[in-house]
């Protein structure tokens, strides 16, 4: 949409990534009129690498041990979020290259395996389908690991998908439902106006009855600028990703490590995507993230250490994207202090949780009872 924005609309969704787009899609399915405003094009989701995370990521547990109780609070949502992706593929009649092949978190020492054992026990209590495998059991289902791997935690609920296919299908869906999509448009401020809002953008002001903040880490500043100011302590995590050229099917699982930062998986294209939390640099808050050589070296060399045969593959591209982290949980629902304002930040694994989180927020906006208890994720918990 390159022309002027509408003067007024029912709902403005700020952020056109997977969450904002899906909120808009679910509301448009019910006949509501919406405008999605996105500073970039496809927002953060354009950089996602397609892991469907379920088990607690050792990276977050290590980085933010104080968040572990919150991570456990949201954990039961994860397998449901993965199942919801599958439902969405069905209802959109789209091919997401979605594979529910399970995830392996590998260990290189008895200590690491013990850590996984403790983690798995807790996860089982919270409803996840996990088990600990020794090396022989691992080789039976994943005969490609290097000599240093002693065992792994298998989480049957995990999988992967190709975000490029998902984003394209979701975009087609919402455009077909009549959602207006304004890309390359920034929001300067949101003022309350009558019973609604006046959203000032780089392409004019739009009045709307309701506003959804689905701008990832950008939500923090938008919320802080409201009257009254709303505290949503979302921070951007600039992360590094790599992709190789194609090879024959080799790695069916989503692979992680108990003590090192990595995700490793193979797309249907045959390409292997290597990521897992190595930092990118972001010189200006809110600006573009740039890849760093240190992360490329560390991430790629770790990948061949875990799966040696991919050492002969070539990396053809790297990129950086922004993950959003809050307190180990998502921020979902209505903001009580400002009627008509909603927040939709999914949580640590934003893409995995994206469509289900959007569904839950859309349900609240449609005055339906969400299918899950979202009270732990209420936006006012930081006040």
């Amino acid at each position: 949409m390159s022309d002027a924005l509408p003067a007024s609309i029912g709902t403005v969704v700020i952020g056109g990534g997977v969450v904002g787009a899906c909120v808009a899609g679910f509301l448009a399915d019910e006949g509501q009129d919406l405008l999605v405003v996105d500073e970039g094009r496809g927002a953060g989701s354009s950089a996602n690498a397609g892991s469907l995370h379920v088990q607690m990521q050792s990276r977050f547990m290590r980085l933010y041990p104080e968040n572990v109780p919150n991570m456990e609070l949201q954990l039961p949502l994860y397998p449901k979020a993965v199942a919801f992706w599958r439902e969405l593929a069905g209802s959109l009649n789209a091919d997401f290259d979605l594979k529910m092949t399970g995830g392996l978190m590998v260990a290189e020492s008895q200590d690491q395996l013990d850590f996984l054992g403790v983690k798995a026990k807790r996860e089982r209590q919270l409803g996840l389908d996990v088990e600990i495998l020794d090396r022989a059991q691992l080789d039976a289902i994943a005969p490609y690991f290097g000599p240093g791997i002693v065992g792994a935690e298998l989480c049957a609920n995990e999988g992967k998908l190709n975000p490029l296919l998902c984003n394209a299908a979701i975009r087609s869906w919402i455009l077909a439902r009549g959602v207006l999509l304004a890309e390359g448009v920034s929001v300067a401020g949101i003022a309350r106006s009558g019973t609604g809002f006046a959203v000032t953008t780089t392409r004019g002001t739009v009045t709307a009855g309701r506003v959804v903040l689905a701008a990832g880490s950008g939500t923090r500043l938008l919320a802080a600028g409201m009257n009254p100011a709303i505290n949503i302590p979302a921070v951007a995590e600039p992360l590094h990703m790599n992709i190789t050229e194609a090879t024959a099917p080799l790695i069916s699982h989503l692979v992680q490590h108990a003590d090192r930062m990595i995700t490793l998986k193979q797309f249907g294209t045959g390409q292997i995507v290597i990521g897992g939390g190595w930092p990118a640099r972001q010189d200006v808050p809110g600006g573009h993230a740039e890849v760093e050589l240190a992360s490329l070296i560390a991430n790629a060399s770790l990948a061949q250490h875990i799966v040696p045969s991919i050492g002969n593959l070539r990396i053809i591209r790297t990129w950086a994207g922004l993950n959003t982290s809050v307190d180990g949980m998502g921020v979902l629902g209505a903001v009580p202090a400002i009627p008509g304002l909603f927040v939709a930040i999914p949580g640590d694994a934003g893409y995995t949780l994206g469509p289900l989180s959007a569904r839950l927020v859309a349900d609240v906006m449609l005055d339906r009872k969400p299918g899950e208890d979202i009270s732990p994720f209420r936006p006012e918990r930081f006040e």
């Binding site: 390159s2 560390a298 050492g311």
Partner: protein, 557 residues
């Protein structure tokens, strides 16, 4: 003749020591190298390590560019099949950190050993700077000099252009410059950090105090149905086969494009024994632009004489010159490539074994863009913003030659001297009166050769590619095998920027990193939306700028 017997798919092939695998196989009539996802064969296209279409497996190691792999021992070569299985590996290397990479901290790093880079290195060294030159090819000289890499009684000796290159390389070495050949610089990061991997698989980090980027150019795409067929290659690729390996690209060669390089190639291949079916020039005859010819003669009489000599050799050799015509389609027939030419409302079909396309160049500016150097888009291509001494918008980064916009080898050499002196001065070295005089001479030579280049472009002025006329079933992205129709469909779905079309269609996601499709996609977007391309409208620069093997990042076992 010294040589080796190499194997291709189990069949023996006699190769010359020092030639590329691509040259050896081409000389034996082998044109199909990599096999794509759709099981189509691809051959040598760019001949300079850019397009990734000549990939082969060498001694079991996948992903080797045949054009960049030198025959220095008996080799076993196989076609690189898309998505081929990996051989099991048991010797995992430990995870590495950046601190384990070898680091070099040259005072001045020069990237590219063509006429511009070498001239910059000489000038900076003379002013007292410690200079390291990195170059991807096995021998320095770049795409202009293309040094002869083979030896033997049956090998035509170096010509004047070769000898000029050898002299420049010798002068560079004599000045005390370190030249490292076979080293690919694939990463450029903030604060002048560079990553490079050698053809032996060793990765190093370079942390220079200043850098001169002289990475040249590669040929633009000429997208017509069939331009991805084996046997269709760039003029530069055919010239590399002949000038470096003394191998002909084929028996019957059709050369088509716009500009004097096509004429030079025709003269060289004719002299080497090929049947040059025709030279097809998009521009009219030079006789239609007498003022421009006169301007060229005034600016650089030697170059005009050289051009006339090429023309004379073609004429006396009976090579037909077809003006005001372009290639509009290529088709593989059992007897060879059927090439359709169009112009003036007429078409005709010529048959050849090899079609060379030389329709102009595109700057190799990815390192400069990654460093954050500002660029302007002149409507056709990006031009690096820099001052008369080559200083870019980023402190300590100098740039010159075809990677900054196009100007040819002579302009690059002159600008190289200026940039080398400026870089040395910026590093605190005194530029004495003798060097200052050298600088003034270079400045005036640069000016003169720019006038020549401008007049040359006037002589060769031809209609631009009519992007609207390219049929939907024509390949736009060679790597991912995406056709124009898919690009047009995505744009008419409302995707109005290159990045979004890339993510929706996979255009530009292959190993060449969008070098050929990106300008085509931008032209399609401009045609559909009226939005002219600008500095950042193309694909963002993403390292590695050459695919890099994971093993080569992990150090040695």
């Amino acid at each position: 003749m010294s040589g080796f017997v190499i194997e291709f798919e189990g069949e023996p092939v006699q190769a010359r020591a020092g030639e590329s695998v691509a040259a050896a196989l081409t000389a034996h009539g082998i044109r199909g190298f990599r096999v794509t996802r759709s099981t189509a064969e691809r051959g040598v296209f760019c001949g300079m390590g850019v397009c990734q279409d000549c990939l082969v497996e060498v001694d079991g190691v996948p992903g080797k560019r045949a054009c960049m792999t030198v025959v220095d021992r008996p080799l076993s070569i196989r076609r690189q099949r898309h998505g081929a299985a990996l051989a099991p590996v048991s010797d995992a290397m430990p995870p590495a950190t950046i601190d384990e990479l070898a680091v070099e901290r040259p005072e001045l790093l020069v990237i590219g050993a063509g006429p511009g880079g070498l001239s910059a290195a000489i000038a900076a060294r003379k002013a007292g700077a410690e200079v390291v030159v990195l170059d991807e090819r096995r021998s320095p000289g770049g795409q202009y000099f293309k040094p002869v890499a083979v030896a033997g009684d049956d090998i035509a000796p170096p010509d004047a252009q070769h000898r000029e290159g050898l002299a420049l390389v010798a002068q560079t070495r004599a000045a005390g410059v370190v030249i490292r050949s076979g080293v690919s610089v694939w990463g450029a990061f903030q604060r002048l950090e560079f990553a490079a991997t050698s053809d032996k698989g060793e990765t190093r980090r370079y942390l220079p105090r200043a850098v001169v980027v002289a990475t040249g150019a590669y040929e633009r795409a000429w997208p017509v149905p069939g331009w991805e067929l084996p046997g269709v290659m760039t003029t530069g690729a055919a010239q590399t086969l002949w000038r470096t390996a003394r191998r002909l690209p084929g028996r019957r060669v059709l050369i088509a494009g716009n500009g004097p390089l096509n004429l030079q190639l025709a003269a060289e291949l004719h002299g080497g024994g090929a049947e040059v079916v025709a030279v097809v020039e998009a521009a009219g005859s030079a006789m239609r632009a007498p003022a421009a010819v006169a301007a060229m003669a005034l600016a650089a009489p030697g170059l005009v004489a050289q051009g006339l000599a090429y023309q004379w050799r073609c004429m006396t050799g009976g090579v037909p010159m077809l003006h005001d015509m372009v290639v509009s389609a290529v088709e593989q027939r059992p007897s060879g490539l059927a090439v359709t030419l169009a112009g003036g409302g007429a078409t005709r079909v010529l048959e050849a074994d090899v079609l060379c396309l030389g329709y102009g160049f595109e700057p190799s500016n990815e390192l400069l863009r990654a460093l954050g150097c500002r660029h302007d888009h002149d409507g056709t291509r990006l031009v690096t913003v820099r001052d008369a001494d080559g200083q870019t918008s980023v402190a300590g980064v100098y740039a010159l030659g075809d990677c900054t916009g196009l100007g040819g080898a002579r302009v690059a050499a002159a600008d190289g001297t200026l940039a080398g002196l400026a870089a040395a001065a910026g590093l605190g070295h005194a530029v004495g009166p003798e060097l200052a005089r050298l600088g003034r001479q270079a400045a005036s030579a640069a000016q003169r050769h720019r006038r020549f280049q401008q007049a040359l472009w006037d002589v060769y002025r031809a209609p631009a590619l009519a992007i609207a006329q390219v049929p939907d079933d024509t390949m736009i992205c060679r790597c991912e095998e995406v056709r124009f129709g898919a690009a047009r469909a995505a744009i008419s779905d409302g995707l109005a920027d290159a990045g979004s079309v890339k993510r929706a269609t996979r255009i530009g996601m292959g190993p060449c990193q969008g070098r050929y499709c990106r300008p085509l996609l931008e032209a399609l977007i401009q045609e559909a939306t009226g939005k002219a391309p600008y500095e950042t409208s193309g694909f963002a620069p993403r390292p590695p700028f050459r695919p890099v093997t994971i093993r080569d990042l992990a150090g040695k076992p």
